[in-house]
């Protein structure tokens, strides 16, 4: 009885699946899905390497400082960095007075001590990076109806994080002629910019790194677009994962200990079972 019931229930599900499969296969043959421009022209991020990659990777602090400079002078006009405080910048190798000076260069929201009204004041190391727009509506209004995303976690919030950031910043181009020939309706709309590294190919952000020398690096590095993109991508690896070095270093200690403990455990296991066939 149990078997008959079980086989009936089994047939219920398998026949329903076979029916779904058959209909799906039929549709697939009679109306094969159309190929889209995104499917054909979207590119995977470029192959790019950073000092922090790999199991022994460490931040290149000089590069992080350059990347911070790019963020400060270019990106921060539109993009917030809400999870990062000025005090965190000491990890980039800045001294305490330098961090104080950097913080003081930003205006952060404050309260007038005499009237209680909202105003702004120079930042302090304990403050977080201020947002460039008061709210999402202001952000949309200033950016062709697109909200510039927060950058703190950007390299963890996209596949291939830092490589994606680097590829996107250096990937702007004109629409390929083949794309327009094959998909005339996929022409980049006015106000958007073609970028094959962006999921739907057209991006509201105008090319932010427009030419060599947009920032001037204090350490003498040549500020090419490629260099600036790499530096700011490296900086965003740090903002997303400030504990990266500590994590990897701790990891090696823990693995070393566990290896030792496991070998001891294995030896005692062999010892205890030595005379017991199993």
């Amino acid at each position: 009885m149990a078997r008959i019931l079980s086989i009936l229930v089994g047939l219920f599900f398998t026949v329903a699946l076979a029916w779904s499969f058959g209909k799906g296969a039929y549709t697939q043959i009679t109306e094969p899905p159309a190929v889209t421009a995104e499917h054909e022209f979207h590119k995977h991020p470029k192959d790019v390497h950073f000092a922090s990659d790999g199991a022994f990777g460490k931040f290149d602090r000089q590069q992080l400082q350059r990347g911070f400079q790019v963020y400060k002078e270019v990106c921060s006009a539109c993009h917030s960095l809400t999870h990062v405080a000025f005090r965190d910048l000491e990890q980039l190798g800045y001294s305490e007075p330098e961090v104080k000076a950097i913080a003081a260069g930003f205006q952060v929201p404050g309260t007038d001590p005499n009237t209680g009204e909202a105003n702004t004041r120079p930042g302090m190391p304990t403050d977080y990076f201020p947002k460039p727009f008061a709210n999402d509506i202001a952000a949309r209004a200033a950016n062709n109806n697109a909200i510039p995303p927060d950058l703190s976690l950007m390299t963890k919030a996209r596949h291939d994080g830092a490589a994606y950031v680097y590829s996107l910043l250096t990937g702007y181009s004109n629409q390929p002629a083949e794309l327009l020939k094959e998909f005339p309706e996929a022409k980049t709309p006015a106000g958007l910019h073609y970028n094959p590294y962006f999921a739907n190919l057209n991006l509201a952000m105008a090319p932010p790194l427009s030419g060599e020398g947009q920032v001037s690096y204090g350490d003498g590095t040549k500020p090419t677009v490629d260099q600036m993109a790499k530096d700011v991508a490296a900086f965003l690896i740090w903002t997303a994962e400030p504990k990266l070095e500590q994590r990897k270093q701790t990891g090696w200690t823990v693995l070393g200990f566990l290896l030792f403990a496991t070998i001891l455990g294995y030896m005692s296991y062999r010892n205890i079972w030595a005379n017991k066939k199993h």
Partner: protein, 442 residues
Amino acid sequence: MSFPWANEYKPSHPFMKWMDEKLPVPRLVYNSVGGGYPVPRNLNYFWNFGFLALICLTIQIITGIVMAMHYAANTAVAFDTIEQTVRDVNWGWLMRYAHANGASAFFVVIYVHIFRGFFYGSYKAPREMVWLLGVVIFLLMMATAFMGYVLPWGQMSFWGAKVITGLFGAIPFVGEPLQQWLLGGFAPDNAALNRFFSLHYLLPFVIVGVVVLHIWALHIPGSSNPTGVEVKSESDTVPFYPYYVAKDGWAVGVFLFLFAAAVFFFPNALGHPDNYIPANAMSTPAHIVPEWYFWPFYAILRAFTQDFFFIPAKLMGVLAMFGAILVWFFLPWLDKSPVRSGAYRPLYKKFFWFGLIPAMAVLFYCGGAPAEEPFVMFSQLAALYYFAHFLIILPVVSAIEKPLPLPYSITESVLGHDEGSQIRPAHGATEATHGDTAVQGA
């Protein structure tokens, strides 16, 4: 209960004697995981995964309690409190990564544990209750993991919650009110986040309770073993301590090594990048996918693309998804073969290795892939096999299969001979099978 030859707990220290009279906890420990619990001597490494699961549960509870100290279940700040834990709390990043990857490790271990049970027939008499409680633990784990994933209130948290609670909406008549009652609103919001946090904190302790019952039920008949032949005499067993404490101990070492490698060097490999974007009800992710450990069941849910007679496709998917796990409850009665171990079941073994395992692999892969062809068609075929395997093939195979001859005893399978078998008249091993079954039935 235990075997008559089990060592007896004999406290020698006056304090332990005193303790044994008032509250015999040391005796309980001794008889559960000490020298007083005889275990088959021939267990292979698949039998280490129960202990590993206990380690995982412990890791999750400890790291989870620490995470809860720094977390606020409020949609306005939930995402930020997790980031603050990671950035500003001492070793907060370690707690967070250990907790997130600990869930994955727990499921890896539990899947091996469950499939060990499938292959070696661990669900069969006299261990049906152990198996049933195990399936309950698995369901509780899934609920806990799902609600835990909602707590960071990232994009996948929000949309995952929306999709999964939406499944209840497929139930006829009561679906929609039920869904709103579960969420405390029309969509996941503060009310849902709060109750998910409350339940996410509660359920692990319910799991602990059911684990106690699971182990208790296991200790009545004792552990099964790779031959599936029940323990007959003292030479078949070794005391849990020191033998299996040592074996589990070094297995824990290997497990923690791999776990630490993931936590310290690939902490985000199993997570979805979208969950590092704060929840946004106005922006739907391109592909909503649950965590990897739900993929097989998510693939089954999405495999039903057509209405079946009067049953809508969505309801079919929901029925099948829950049915795919609920069918495990009936295994002890669907598989009637008197032979437990797949090693002695030539036909069942083939269906296990060339049917169930590939079908699960396909379902795992397709559940994480976008809902596009050819993935949907693959998952339909794999899901078809999955249901056929448990509901049709298993009952039929167990009726028609001719099992291989079983060893007389565990001792014989290990040493090649067993003095105990000499006292019985000479007989074929097949007869021993029946004799063995009769003993189990008694």
